[in-house]
Amino acid sequence: MSRRFVFEGARVVDPAAGLDEVRDVAVAGGVIAGAEETDWAQASERIDARGLVLSPGLVDLHAHLREPGYEHKETIATGTRAAAVGGYTAVAAMANTDPVTDNAAIVHLVRGLAAEGSCDVFPVGAVTKGLEGATLAAMGEMVEAGVRIFSDDGNPVADARTLRNILVYAKAFGVEVIVADHAEDASLVEGGHIHEGPVSDALGLAGRPGEAEEIAVARDIAVARATGGRLHLCHLSTARAVDIVRWAKADGVRVSAEVTPHHLALTDHDVATYDTNRKVYPPLRTADDREALRAGVADGTIDVIATDHAPHAVEEKEAEFDLSPPGTIGLETALAVALTELVVPGSVPLGRVIEAMSTTPARLLGATDHGGPLEPGRPANLMVFDPEAAWTVEAPFASKARNSAFLGCTLRGRVVYTMLRGELTVAEGKPTR
């Protein structure tokens, strides 16, 4: 018999239930309990949640957990622990492992490794075998193994014909299968490291121009529209890419899009000290782009806030800027960055942020146990955070890595409890596993 909890007096924000009100939430037997069970006498553990926000556990649509193959950067154990600390109860694990997740055997391997983890892991399947952009990966057997999202992330699907074929082929399975693309035109970003503009000119770094993303987004949307396929665009970063997606949605194209916390918070000027932790692909853009991304989240053009959690070893990031690998970790800071950049200034309501970080990604992933609604009988996958707590980002992290773009930054909002199927994975802000 698992433990019983009552979170007392929390502000419950549960977009799937259309709920934002102060009340008690009881958990018993791993599921949300009915109102009659909130009676404190029946609960073995009462948690004073006054002043705290309780919501469905966050769901990350885009994380690199690195295992198998790159365990020196991160493991599924450390990556899921980092996720739990950030309030996540489920993450999608990108396919660029070694071996690549391009067949059902690796899907099962990742799931097996995740069984003891601190959150649920949903393997993303590769679009092409070995992420090489040539032959299609074994999609059918991966769908059968439960995979719902396919992506060659890290590499764009460079060839429009391959994208076309995969979007058409994905219709075969009777379930919604989403193809997620890292949208950057390869020829325009080759050799580039940061956003092309005044900062790249001044730093003497080759650029990755904004139009590289806009071209790829427009192409992908054209192909999705023609095929009727279901497209998801990873980590949008430019204002015009948001415009293109907005237009496509109005036009009925089956497309969704995500943005990372770092693109919502930082600009290319934040890389002016050659800080390799802020070297990310797509690169940090201009203040105007950042504004458009925030507006895109607010109006729903951008469906999801996803971390693109990309851990690297210290020695890999402590290298020359052009030689260091791109990526920042993000699972432990995502909620606080979103709160600090979107909710505190008042540009996006809290409910919309929870929707973009939990409800919607859970639906896209097919993670039916996650993302709410937190109704009686539903799995108790939830998190509780203090929206007022101010904290400074510093190592060590629960992640094995420490390449955070936010090191030294002060953020608002900190996760206090994370609960996976009625068990606390985080208590008093600390991981329990």
């Binding site: 003497g204 290298a319 020359e320 800027f321």
Partner: protein, 310 residues
């Protein structure tokens, strides 16, 4: 002076003047039979040249030796770097050996700034990727001032592949700091889009610019760029942006021609033009040693008057 010289943005106009004045007094040392002063005796200067550059390394080496510093040359080939040692570990090793200054040449933009995070000693950027090459800019400013008597108001064209040129970046910033009037000239594909924000003008018409110049500064054409489709051919580049004899003839009488070397004779500069009296390319080399002496002296020696040291 700041602790390090990483970019020409690090030095003010007054500091540039001070460095140039100090170099004037050191230039005389190079004309002596015994070309040496004791200013930096007992100090250790490491030339960390992780990208090949014989000319710049020799210039820094001579500068440090003429100041009586101990000089260590550390290159990539055959060193621990070739065995996979990181820049950080190399830096920490040099630090542990007591390097007072590290002169770094590296193919990666920003590596000198990164180095300052790992070592206590002074760091001098001897060229980082396509970022900056401030001592080249200083020696060019020194040469211009020597030859033309001033920097303020000088009309200077920097011609060629500005986009990939650390020399062009540093020299533009230095000239703008000193009040010169700079025009960048080259194929539009090789001029950074944001260059006007540096305080310079941009032109794609060398012939239109030439007659108004005090200094025509030619950049080296990096032939590998042609493969990247920045311009159609060397022949077309030379036709549009090379300093041919005809173009050189259109220069004002007292205008000078400069080039950071090594030259591609017949490509960006006609061989005969390179050898004209108005071409000051060898003076640039000579001034390079004096400028680097002045810089090392001001960074490491600090206090006394340059006259005392010389």
């Amino acid at each position: 002076m700041k602790r390090h010289l990483l970019s020409m943005h690090d030095v003010t106009a007054d500091e540039v003047t001070r460095i140039l004045d100090t170099a004037e007094s050191f230039r005389e040392v190079g004309t002596r039979v015994i070309k040496k002063v004791p200013a930096l005796r007992g100090r250790t200067v490491v030339n960390l040249f992780l990208e090949n550059s014989t000319r710049t390394r020799i210039s820094f080496e001579l500068a440090a030796k003429r100041l009586s510093a101990d000089v260590i040359n550390f290159g990539a080939g055959g060193s621990s770097v070739a065995k996979g040692e990181s820049l950080k570990d190399t830096a920490l090793t040099l630090q542990a050996m007591g390097a007072d200054a590290i002169v770094i040449r590296h193919s990666s933009s920003g590596s000198p700034l990164q180095l300052t995070r790992w070592v206590d000693g002074h760091v001098v950027n001897a060229g980082d990727g396509t970022h900056e090459h401030p001592t080249q800019a200083l020696l060019d400013l020194s040469t211009m001032r020597q030859r033309l008597g001033r920097l303020e108001g000088l009309r200077v064209a920097i011609v060629g592949d500005v986009r990939h040129s650390r020399v062009a970046r540093s020299l533009s910033h230095g000239l703008v700091t000193m009040g010169a009037d700079v025009t960048l000239v080259g194929p539009p594909t090789l001029i950074p889009a944001d260059a006007p924000s540096w305080g310079v003008a941009v032109s794609y018409d060398l012939d239109g610019v030439i007659p108004k110049l005090d200094v025509c500064y030619m950049l080296r054409v990096q032939r590998e760029r042609q493969r990247l489709e920045f311009f159609p051919s060397i022949r077309e580049y030379t036709r549009l942006f090379g300093l041919t004899r005809e173009r050189a003839a259109a220069l004002a009488d007292d205008a000078v021609v400069m080039h950071p070397g090594p030259m591609n004779r017949g490509v960006e500069i006609d061989s005969d033009v390179a050898d004209l009296p108005r071409s000051v390319i060898e003076e640039q080399v000579t001034n390079g040693i004096a400028i680097r002496m002045a810089l090392l002296y001001l960074l490491l020696g600090g206090a006394g008057e340059p006259g005392d040291a010389a």
